[in-house]
């Protein structure tokens, strides 16, 4: 049997730093060695006392921590106001572009969709539609949206660059055997050629593969390293981003 167990080892045991085999060996030893068991017990109670001592640390007089939730509340209010403001401005400016350029098209961006652009003027002729959900409704919405934009542009002789980016569960839209709209998408691609791109997030693909799934993408689908990078790059290039 080993000689005396060092304090460091006992501390590591109490703090859960020993590996399973070492812990088990120590536990086995404690059954026979009462003194060792007592040392561990003393350490544990010391630890408990320290924890107990700081469960409720005293609060500084005059500037209580209660200020925090209030500040948070104010911040949240400000955030909500900002979101509403951005939404209103975004909606208003889009309404403008629509009435000028897409006079006959139905509503381009239904309410609830967020429009974001990093450049000063979002370019309505370059649109990134982002889907990260596998809900059939959303998938259909993203395709409807894409088709509407492209058709409206066709009718008016404009060129619209459109990219549909899928990540996370939304990747199913671009997966052969999983996509419920494979045929429709093939038709769309045939019709609009290089104005329409299907882009899959490489990271989502890698994640699925590491889970043991086989990932086969629909033909003509491109891959971006990560969805986020693609979004940021496009935003910087002045694209309009719409999350469906």
């Amino acid at each position: 049997m080993n000689p005396v167990v060092s304090d460091e080892t006992l501390h590591a045991f109490v703090d859960g730093e020993l590996d399973v085999a070492e812990s088990e060996r120590l536990i086995a030893r404690m059954r026979d060695d009462k003194e060792l068991a007592q040392r561990v017990c003393a350490l544990r109670s010391l630890q408990t006392m320290v924890r107990l001592a700081y469960v409720e640390p005293p609060v500084a007089d005059g500037r209580t921590l209660r200020a925090a939730p209030r500040r948070q509340f104010v911040q949240r209010c400000a955030l909500v106001c900002l979101a509403v403001f951005v939404g209103l401005i975004g909606g208003w400016s889009l309404r403008g572009t629509e009435s000028q350029a897409v006079a006959h098209a139905p509503v381009v961006l239904p309410g609830g969709y967020q429009v974001v652009s990093l450049s000063h003027a979002a370019d309505p002729s370059r649109v990134l539609l982002h889907i990260d959900s596998s809900e059939p409704d959303k998938m259909q919405a993203v395709l409807d949206q894409a088709e509407r934009l492209l058709d409206a542009a066709d009718r008016q002789g404009r060129v619209v660059q459109l990219e549909v980016l899928a990540n996370s569960r939304g990747l199913d839209l671009l997966r052969a055997g999983h996509s419920p709209y494979a045929e429709r998408m093939a038709r769309m691609k045939q019709r609009h050629g290089h104005n329409l791109h299907w882009v899959a997030c490489g990271q989502s693909i890698a994640r699925l593969k590491s889970d043991g799934e086989k990932v086969v993408l629909l033909p003509t689908t491109q891959t971006a390293p990560t969805a986020i990078k693609e979004i940021v790059t496009r935003l910087q290039q002045g694209w309009t981003y719409v999350r469906v």
Binding site: D15, L46, M49, P57, Q114
Partner: protein
């Protein structure tokens, strides 16, 4: 939108703010001064907010913020003490907390433990509180305080031995105050 802002700006303010109670507990256990602890937490939160882009792994948010607070705390000590080398007094500095009067048994134990912890040398106090209060692993503590793991283990070992002997003495004469008073 949320994903973009997370990617661009790091953790959002609520998750930084949410660390406040944890930070406060640690800060208090380090300095035993509520007002100073509050200042340290405030400074840490604002630094964490401005440097939020540096944090890549959000799972490490807590450890990252504690390490920021460690720097704030050391800066504070430096400005107060005018020491050049923190290492010199890492092993000797006591907090200046007085022993609070204890009115009942539970409070008395709490008061004794707090004042015993306050009497530990700074380095030991930091390691002990991080391991015992927040259950950080030794490797995490080493990273937070920027010291080798071996030092974490030896400081912890010494801290617990010191704490035990301080408490043993305190418990033997529970009502007399001078025991844990700081001797200058």
């Amino acid at each position: 939108m949320l994903m973009i802002s997370r990617f661009l700006f790091g953790p959002l303010r609520p998750s930084i703010e949410a660390q406040r109670p944890v930070l406060y507990r640690i800060a208090y256990a380090w300095c035993h001064d509520p007002a100073l602890a509050d200042d340290l937490v405030q400074e840490t939160l604002s630094k964490a907010w401005t440097r939020r882009a540096q944090l890549r792994d959000e799972a490490a948010l807590k450890a990252w913020m504690v390490s920021i607070m460690n720097h704030c705390w050391l800066d504070h000590l430096r400005s107060r003490r005018d020491f050049e080398d923190v290492e010199d007094w890492q092993d000797e500095l006591e907090s200046s907390a007085d022993t609070p009067e204890a009115s009942c048994n539970r409070e008395q134990v709490i008061a004794s433990v707090r004042s015993a912890v306050a009497r530990l040398p700074l380095g030991q106090r930091q390691v002990l509180t991080l391991v015992d209060l927040e259950e950080f692993g030794y490797a995490e503590v080493a990273e937070i305080l920027d010291i080798p793991v071996g030092t974490v283990m030896s400081r912890l070992s010494r801290a617990r031995a010191n704490l035990k002997s301080l408490l043993d003495t305190a418990m033997q004469q529970p009502t007399t105050k001078p025991l844990l008073r700081r001797v200058k």
